[in-house]
Symmetry: C2
Subunit: 333 residues, 2 copies
């Protein structure tokens, strides 16, 4: 909280502006930043707001970081993560980091003090991956993972960005006896990892929902889902019909608004919906379930589950087709 | 969906406008409306927006109902419920209603076709209870409860309005072994019912969090909480310190924004937060838990749990002090 510049008394996440002073306290860590990975919903909003103009997107991101002292999109409320090299470690930092370690931060950029020194000049503004130079501060309660030596850093970053999704999916799926699991947005990063996690956690049948034939073909080729179906997740009736009998666990990984009712309708009585999309509306979900008289448990996808980084990286190593999907995604970005 | 006037193809909850034609289909029920009970967050928003001016509040509610064909506050996204007398029942309605029964609807007004015929002339605009005359349509998937004969209708309505909270609290508390349960906003309607439900479901210790000494005195007098503490729920540090060691289950019943981080901080690792407030921000909760590296399960409070109406009414009958709190609340409204 000592890094909150304004307003006073709030947690860093809720702050308008953070203090990015590079001098660390004894429980902090300073990281030399190499790359930001913007949250997908955040980048999409910026892209739409600026009509896809890369210069204007870059200018706004630089301006947000400059004025807020963090990459916290004020419209979507989301941030992203970063990779960098540990510069200095406070004597009382509990994070287990050493200078020179290459790490990814697993806490959101929305609460990480960040300064960029190059005006984002090396970023083309055309993807979520932002090469840059600057520094960030990690707190005692932050989480950072050392980047594994056996995977390219871009790939690890893409996985670690969404590693909460497979971890929570795994936990929920494991609480049912041979459940049917539907993943909405199944060809995306969090979706494909969640599918792999669901199968490993004991799903009897997995259904991958995708919006178009291109993604369907990719997902079918991966073999990650027992069944691949096409549906517009914003159309409740269409989504429920595509999933079929009602999933025991429905995992929402698409970052578009308006998927709440479809996810609820697609879920069997006694089932669970896990919302990972930051575009989820709390009231639409709460009132939707009530309005449909649906006895479903609805979880706010918590990006932190103990062991989430290791689980996600292990899934990638164990599933060659998942690794391939991530490689293709990182290459096209 | 046949009652959706626009846009086509969405569910009634998501619709801009519903068709209020009084002629029912064979799976519908028409109710002669006697009273609306606006959602607390909705009334508060209207009150604030109009500087407490009762005439302007009344005019806006009438205008919302007239233009949308339902009482669906476009700012808060919330509605409320109604009581009335069953007028006509379609031959294939599964709701078990008969003409002449006095009922309360347990689905939100946000998806209930509603027309008022008196311009809300009998409402003083000063409370959430709106006496009126008009009609509403119930669907096959709607839920309506017959008002019990042993309780005044206003009292039953106030209980049924929030009956999802004690039901879900009961279910979650029952999944832990002798847990500590904290209820934030414990002197309110859903809060006091949730406290009673938590104790009955096996809570070892209940903590009631209230914002001021007046509410603290009321709650202490009721004996519903083992411990009554004062805290501003929007102040994360203050809330966590007031609750103490970390609750196994934290129930958020205050309808003000910004309580997400405090609720997460007040909850022990492995615990559960249930958000019932429509002022909850999905992204603040999701990113907050991640930012705090908090391993907590976060539930979107579903207003529907099978048996919720009976459970809430039974709690009221079994707890004389709870009944007294509700009587005082209804009288002052």
């Amino acid at each position: 909280m000592h890094r909150v510049a304004e307003p006073p008394g709030v947690l860093p996440q809720a702050a308008d502006r953070l203090d990015t002073d590079p001098r660390i306290r004894d429980d902090e860590v300073r990281v030399r930043v190499e790359r930001l990975n913007l949250d997908a919903a955040s980048y999409r909003q910026l892209h739409t707001a600026h009509g896809g103009d890369p210069d204007r997107i870059r200018a706004e991101v630089a301006e947000i970081i400059r004025t807020r002292g963090k990459m916290h999109n004020p419209v979507t409320g989301s941030g992203g993560m970063l990779i960098g090299v540990v510069d200095e470690v406070g004597a009382r930092s509990p994070l287990g980091l050493r200078p020179g370690m290459r790490v990814a931060t697993l806490v959101s950029l929305t609460l990480t003090p960040l300064r960029v020194d190059d005006g984002l000049a090396r970023w083309d503004g055309r993807s979520e991956q932002v090469p840059t130079d600057g520094h960030a501060i990690l707190f005692a309660r932050s989480i950072a993972a050392e980047l594994p030596a056996d995977l390219p850093p871009e790939l690890s970053l893409a996985v670690l960005d969404v590693c909460g999704a497979p971890a929570l999916t795994s936990r929920v799926v494991g609480s049912y006896a041979s459940p049917t699991v539907a993943v909405v947005g199944a060809a995306g990063k969090s979706g494909s990892l969640s599918l792999a996690a669901a199968r490993r956690a004991g799903a009897k049948r997995t259904v991958g929902v995708v919006p178009n034939e291109t993604e369907a073909a990719r997902l079918r080729a991966s073999g990650l889902a027992d069944e691949v179906v096409l549906a517009d997740a914003r159309d409740p009736i269409a989504l429920a019909e595509a999933v079929g009998d009602g999933a025991d666990v429905t995992v929402v990984c698409v970052d578009v608004p308006g998927c709440e009712h479809g996810a609820i309708l697609a879920t069997a009585s006694g089932g669970t919906v896990i919302f990972f999309s930051m575009a989820t509306s709390f009231s639409a979900a709460a009132l939707g379930a009530e309005g449909l008289a649906a006895d479903v448990t609805m979880l706010i996808g918590n990006g932190y589950v103990p062991g989430h980084a290791e689980l996600a990286l292990d899934l990638l190593r164990a599933e060659p087709t998942l690794l391939k999907m991530f490689q293709e995604r990182v290459e096209t970005e």
